[in-house]
Amino acid sequence: MKNILLLALNDLAIALKNKTLLLVLFIPVFVFISLNLVDSNDPEAAKIRIGLIQDYAYAAEITRSIEAAEASIAVTWLEDKEQGLRLLNEHKIDGVFTNNESDRLALLVLKKESLHTIAIVQSFSALQKAAEGHRPSWIAEIQSLHEGNMQRDTLPTWILMVILLVGFIILPAQVAEEKEKKLLLGLLQTPIHEAQWLAAKLILGMVLIIAATLLLHLLSNFWPKHIFSYFAFILMGSFCFSAYGIFLGFLCRSQASARTLGVIFYLPHLLPSAMADVSQKLTSVAPFLPSYQLYEPLRSILLEDGSMENMLFDGFYLCLLGSLMFYLAYRLIKKRWLM
């Protein structure tokens, strides 16, 4: 145990020296700052910004309705269409209204399928219904199962990203570096056992992941209801993917090849799991990836107040895969693979 602790502390000191620790802690800070910029509560930022051209003859009821909705629509009067195009390209307005041939409005936007376009269309449909005295919309209210803001909603994805980053990018490179510089062989000239060296690397991975996760929660000031279940899955996930990363490191002779192999594993594991919600095809593929067995429980615990009782299979799967990877890494270190 003393040897494992010594080696783990040495690994952490290396992580500090080569700035790996800073990278892992930078990610939560970056996420926090960028999401705070996106998730702004500023009412001005939530307004739809449209441009109307001074020389165009808009219907009086349209301009009246727009002026009456000044709380949600900001109007910029433009000298001509060219000025509108310029402001649109500079992202200073979201759309420009011109007349089309049948004297109805034509909306000019940067992208047809964007959220801004949808917001403009929805707002103007509502304004039109109000102006024409129609009955209110069939949908009176939208209720959401997931309460919270973008920070909370994206938390499972960020946590998965951090775990996979440590597992697939940082650890393989560190293992391969120690092989490449013959440091591992040097350490094995002492009476330490191979499994102790592997355990120290596992501890390094788990400490980095837990530190980053903790910082993410501290910054977002959000803690799950079932904290024990959550912590158990963070531990199991960090164990599984740290062991996975150590194994990948043993398949490479150099740091450079470990980084390449790491990215090859990182992206497929990250994308389907984190983006499964937005694609039917990805939803059907994602469960085949081990990262999904971590992402789904995390999502459920964080966003739906789920608890571990319904996720025993996922936990078992992560522990089994982690143990298998640890065993394979042990076999490779015994064989002095590519050292």
Binding site: N3, L6, L7, N10, A13, I14, K17, N18, K181, K182, L183, L185, G186, L187, L188, Q189, T190, P191, I192, H193, K335, R336, M339
Partner: protein, 226 residues
């Protein structure tokens, strides 16, 4: 016999590696293993140091089978050609770490720093040291656990004249202290007055094993290094 090697072999390809080799080494011998690049010198030392697994053969050190790694590593100090130290950290940090892992008292670090004239560099980061100094730190690391057998792979490779002399001074000191030493070199003239025995490897086979005087008078030396 302190070291018994029986039919030790490792073949990378048909002509590269080490063919089955057997020899004994008595305590206190200072053996130079000589040969051209690719002769099998490093392969032999790395197998003795447990760095690479042999295809076949047995190695017994002080009655301990090399396969019993935990016990065997206490008997061997291996110094590879390129120093393998934690570059980010100081000389002292490196030696302390390896002393702790070898369960050696930290007082021994002071002794080693003193023996190898490394006291002025104890706080220096390894990455700032010259290759010769790094090599001395590497030797210091191997000496921490006070192993009876030292293996050095090309200890003077890439070193200038002064540093080479310093390394040979260290080897002599260790030898005088009763240690058994095996080191490789492809510059036999350099070790003429150093080794007590010379083994010559050629294409993975031992072609000479005897006293230095005999070797330098033999045709083998003339053929290999003419």
């Amino acid at each position: 016999m302190q070291l018994q090697v029986r039919n030790l072999a490792k073949l990378y390809t048909q002509n590269r590696g080490l063919s089955p080799t057997s020899f004994d080494v008595a305590q206190g011998e200072l053996i130079a293993i000589v040969g051209h690049n690719g002769a099998g010198k490093s392969t032999l030392l790395k197998m003795l140091a447990n760095w690479i697994a042999p295809d076949s053969g047995d190695v017994i050190i002080d009655g301990v089978d090399l396969r019993n790694r935990a016990a065997a590593v206490r008997k061997i100090g291996f110094i590879p050609e390129d120093p393998n130290l934690f570059d980010f950290f100081s000389v002292e940090y490196n030696l302390n770490l390896f002393a702790k892992l070898s369960q050696t008292p930290l007082l021994r670090v002071e002794e080693v720093l003193n023996e190898l004239n490394l006291l002025p560099f104890r706080k220096s980061k390894v990455q700032t040291l010259s290759k010769g100094l790094k090599q001395r730190v590497n030797i210091g690391r191997a000496l921490l656990a006070n192993p009876p057998l030292l293996l050095l792979d090309e200890p003077t490779s890439g070193l200038d004249f002064e540093m080479t002399r310093e390394i040979y001074r260290v080897l002599n000191t260790m030898h005088d202290a009763g240690k058994t030493i095996l080191f490789t070199s492809h510059r036999p003239e350099e070790i003429k007055n150093l080794a007590t025995r010379i083994m010559v490897l050629h294409n993975g086979k031992v072609i000479f094993d005897g006293f230095p005087q005999e070797y330098f008078q033999s045709e083998i030396h003339a053929e290999l290094y003419s």
